[in-house]
Amino acid sequence: MVKVAHLIPLFPFLAFAVNIFFGRRLREASALISIIACGISAVLSLVVFQGLQAGEGSYSLGTWLFLNGKPLNFGVTVDALSVMMLLVVTVVATLIKIYSVGYMHGDLRYSRYFAYISLFTASMLGLVLADNFVMLYIFWEGVGLCSYLLIAFWFERPAAAKAGLKAFITTRIGDTGLLIGILLLLFSTQTLYFSELKNIAGDDWILTLAAILIFMGAVGKSAQFPLHVWLPDAMEGPTAVSALIHAATMVAAGVYLVARTYALFILHPLCLEIVALIGGISALLAASIATVNNDIKRVLAYSTISQLGLMMLGLGVGGYAAGTFHLMTHAFFKALLFLCAGSVIHSVHTQDIQKMGGLLSKMKVTGATFIIGTLAIAGVPPLSGFWSKDEILTAAWHNGSPVLFWLAVATSFLTAFYMARLIFLVLFGKPRSEMHPSESPKTMTVPLIILAVFAVFAGFIGSPLMHHAFQEFINEGHGGEVVASGFVIGLSIAVSLAGIGLAYLFYVLNNKIVPSGIRAQFAWLHQLLLNKYYIDEIYDAVFVRPCMRFCDFLFKFDAVVVDGLVNGAGAAVRAVSQVLRWVQTGLVQNYLLVQVLGVILFVLTLLGKLCFRF
């Protein structure tokens, strides 16, 4: 029954086609079409999951084109990794589309929204199912396009338009690396199929380079340092979009890519070290920025960068199952957190957490699920985040360098701190501005409750309580049991609680414990974090503006030098003809004179020759 897998992206695509062409007539029905299509995909994903359990696998649909004489197929990958992704994407997408019915209610371009988000779902599912690099690249760019369209969805706002542009260009820088990596791989191994990667042997430096370049694509898409700058700005899009694309699914595509091509990365330790290090740096960098940011969505955006960094770190220290496990649990609790934030914004019409406070009593469902999501991401047992984060820490402890392990621990601590800070400022205390909050409609709260259930329980399938069933599944039967370390578990729980506790001291007991003198000494750090390490400013000064100046220079060069030569050639011809024109005086006397002189010259020459001969 896995042969239905290629239909999974097809249904959302049809929903897109219907909505884009008939959207204005469909109005509210466009949401229904979109949700039903996604629901069908979710059911089909379950069918494929069953088929996979029964031992069925990948298949091909036909040839797309010939590349260097070899067929490049429309292939469909059906394995544990892709099926896991299918389930996560379809379930989360369906829930978020239901939520969007309430969240986007009354929007001017309601049907357009559902068209785009359906196209995104289709592309994302296509990406997951691709069985070769070119197909993956096609859908990879496809999700990037949808991301662009949805970030700039409220295009009347200049900030949204700019953010869309920034997201597309930044990720395209990564994608260009990916493309070069694909080319390198094609010419060094003669294959672009994922299934053949494990047959590659040896640690040729070209393969190492190819892996690093492919990772560059992942860095762009998963908003890892140094290409992370687009994700916080992407929060200009509707919050439901942030939840689906910029938290749960698309940004995880980078992690998915590394997992999918893992065979390439384990060829050389350098590749894995780079993955782990970039992940670790991104995790800590973003988490530290999140501790001071006051925009509810941006805190979550930095949190996403940080968590994706943890996944990369997990993969980089050899924790294939750990990284993918965290990808799954993160998809649920981060989607939940964003949707909670959306519910809050929908109710109070601001994103500034300094203006919020005390919302728990007015928005009970949102508040309760928000707290659940926070506990999950903070790694409080037995919620899902605890299990998956613990897997990563364990993998880092066993295989990674101490630096990586402590990077992960520090990130865990900061995560617990900034998330606790967020909910203390939003949900607890007294309102800090005049607000009229009320609970969101059922279409929004029901998805919250369902996602909260996932956030609580999804971790158990990878826990010792269920004999690491997830790891067994994702590793396809062989290996999976991780040797748990009491020290790591203890440390993990301790930093989580410490982070929450510190936030409690600061934001509930109102920071009287830290003397103002010490706080003043750290003002520079606060400024540095508030300004996101000035990375945007640095990029602007080092790359963007010089690039624009260079383009302007080339344009002048083109007009003055290149075109100048052309017009100069024309002018030269005219100048020469001006000289020659002087000969054509039009006076018969002159012509006669020249003629006579010519004859004399001719005769003299003739005479001279005659004389010479005799």
Partner: protein, 486 residues
């Protein structure tokens, strides 16, 4: 047998003659005659596609008759995989641009006569297989183009028209000399291009180099290859919309086609010798064209420079001397014709409303011109090489081909992809997004005629993007045959 190719050439000519005899006042009838002529050409070209056997690498639909026996010049026509898609492209854009010419108000008779003459020249260039005939069609294109820019163009039309004319003519003169030398060197003397493709590769290497260079300059100006490109932005900015469509869509392809039909198959040793410099020029074109496009404030000039960038991919694919690269180059030519043709139509739509092309004069058009926004977004995305749309496939194949031969250069070329995305999205941001510019508040969305001209182009862009074999199957066998002879 029905002379399909001759009909393709002479239907527009007959139409032009008919229009000459029509009363001067009956302008709408002239338009309908022109539309009928170009429509007939389009139908015939579709017939050509359906009848074309793409497994056959020989010339098809051949028509051959003695023309000037004294110099052994023949009226020799035929198509193969290298030309058939370009013939269709010419017919399609010829028809669409004719529809887009509906708004021409001054000197209607002259316009359509010249327009149809141009069609004859363009189609003839792609199907002539006798060098002399080829040269005549090549030159026939010049004259109507000169007048179409010079009379119906913008404020600096005369400068642009003369520049276009002289620049191209300078190239043609070199080509004429090269044709003569080729003719006299071949033994027995022949102008038959199919024969020459067999004979010319045996020419002395130094002679090949000289002849290659002479043809190269003629074609490079037409493509245009950096640094021979500066006539293009001037010509485009001044030309009326339909003429820009043909200029970018078809005329540039004549240069690329010349490489495929003459330069590379005739002078194979020279092609090997010049592969690296050609690739360098191609890559410079890609990056340089993109950078200069980024600096533009004039919408049309930006698209003109984007053509320079895109044609760089054609050169890179050609220089790779590989089947993949050749396929990419030829496909990129077809795709560029369709996409950029659409882009120029869209620039025209906006210009008709705003009478300006300054990007700063627009903004937020998505709000009240949703249909326009839809088309402009799709064309821009196709142009910046978004996978799923046709532009990507040609670029990918060119890059794969180029990477096989010149890996480092090709890596430089990929930087062009980033800049290309940059200037197209920056343009979209300035035109479609942001708050509505009050100057644009009264613009109406695209009308039926304008939509009609864009729909076929967008459909082709999507179909070729998803199923590239629809075009590739026509050319693959011919290209395999060409490459295997290298």
């Amino acid at each position: 047998m029905f002379p399909l190719l001759s009909s393709l050439i002479f239907f527009p000519l007959v139409g032009a003659l008919l229009i000459l005899f029509l009363p001067k006042k009956n302008e709408s009838l002239m338009k309908w005659v022109a539309l009928a002529a170009t429509g007939a050409v389009l139908v015939l070209s579709i017939l050509l596609l359906t009848q074309f056997n793409y497994h056959n690498v020989q010339m098809q639909f051949v028509e051959n008759a003695v023309w000037i026996p004294q110099i052994n010049a023949w009226y020799f026509l035929g198509v193969d995989g290298l030309s058939v898609a370009l013939v269709f492209l010419t017919a399609l854009l010829g028809f669409i641009a004719c529809v887009a010419s509906w708004g021409i108000a001054q000197r209607v008779k002259e316009y359509f006569v010249l327009y149809l003459l141009l069609m004859t020249g363009m189609t003839g260039t792609f199907i002539a297989l006798d060098l002399f005939l080829f040269y005549i069609f090549w030159e026939v294109v010049l004259i109507p183009m000169y007048f179409l820019i010079g009379i119906w163009g913008g404020p600096r039309r005369e400068y642009a028209a003369i520049k276009f004319f002289l620049y191209t003519l300078a190239g043609s003169v070199l080509m004429l000399v090269a044709i003569l030398v080729t003719y006299f060197t071949a033994n027995p003397h022949t102008l038959n291009m199919v024969e020459l493709a067999k004979v010319a590769p045996a020419f002395d290497f130094h002679l090949q180099v000289v002849l290659f260079l002479a043809f190269f300059v003629a074609f490079a100006i037409k493509v245009p290859v950096f640094p021979f490109h500066t006539w293009l932005p001037d010509a485009h900015v001044e030309a009326p919309t339909p003429i820009s469509v043909l200029l970018a869509g078809v005329l540039l392809k004549m240069g690329g086609y010349g490489f495929f039909r003459i330069c590379f198959p005739f002078f194979k040793d020279a092609a090997h010798y010049f592969a690296l410099p050609l690739a360098v020029l191609g890559v410079i074109g890609i990056v340089y064209g993109a950078c200069v496009a980024m600096a533009q404030t004039d919408f049309k000039k930006m698209i003109a420079y984007s053509s320079v960038s895109h044609m760089g991919f054609v050169m890179l694919g050609l220089a790779s001397l590989s089947a993949t690269g050749f396929n990419g180059a030829l496909l990129e030519m077809f795709n560029h014709g369709v996409i950029t043709g659409g882009m120029f139509l869209l620039v025209g739509v906006l210009y008709d409303r705003a009478h300006t092309r300054e990007l700063s004069q627009f903004g937020g058009l998505s709000a009240n011109l949703p249909v326009y926004a839809f088309f402009l977004t799709i064309c821009s995305l196709a142009s910046l090489g978004l996978p799923g749309l046709s532009g990507f496939v040609g670029e990918l194949l060119s890059l794969v081909g180029g990477f096989g031969a010149f890996p480092r250069l090709t890596i430089v070329a990929t930087f062009g992809l980033i800049i290309t995305a940059g200037y197209f999205l920056y343009m979209l941001q300035r035109v479609l997004l942001g708050p509505l510019n009050l100057n644009c508040a009264k613009y109406s969305d695209m009308n039926g005629r304008e939509i009609f001209t864009l729909v076929p182009l967008v459909v082709i862009t999507v179909v070729v993007g998803i199923f590239p074999n629809t075009v590739l199957k026509f050319q693959a066998a011919a290209i395999q045959a060409l490459v295997s002879s290298f």
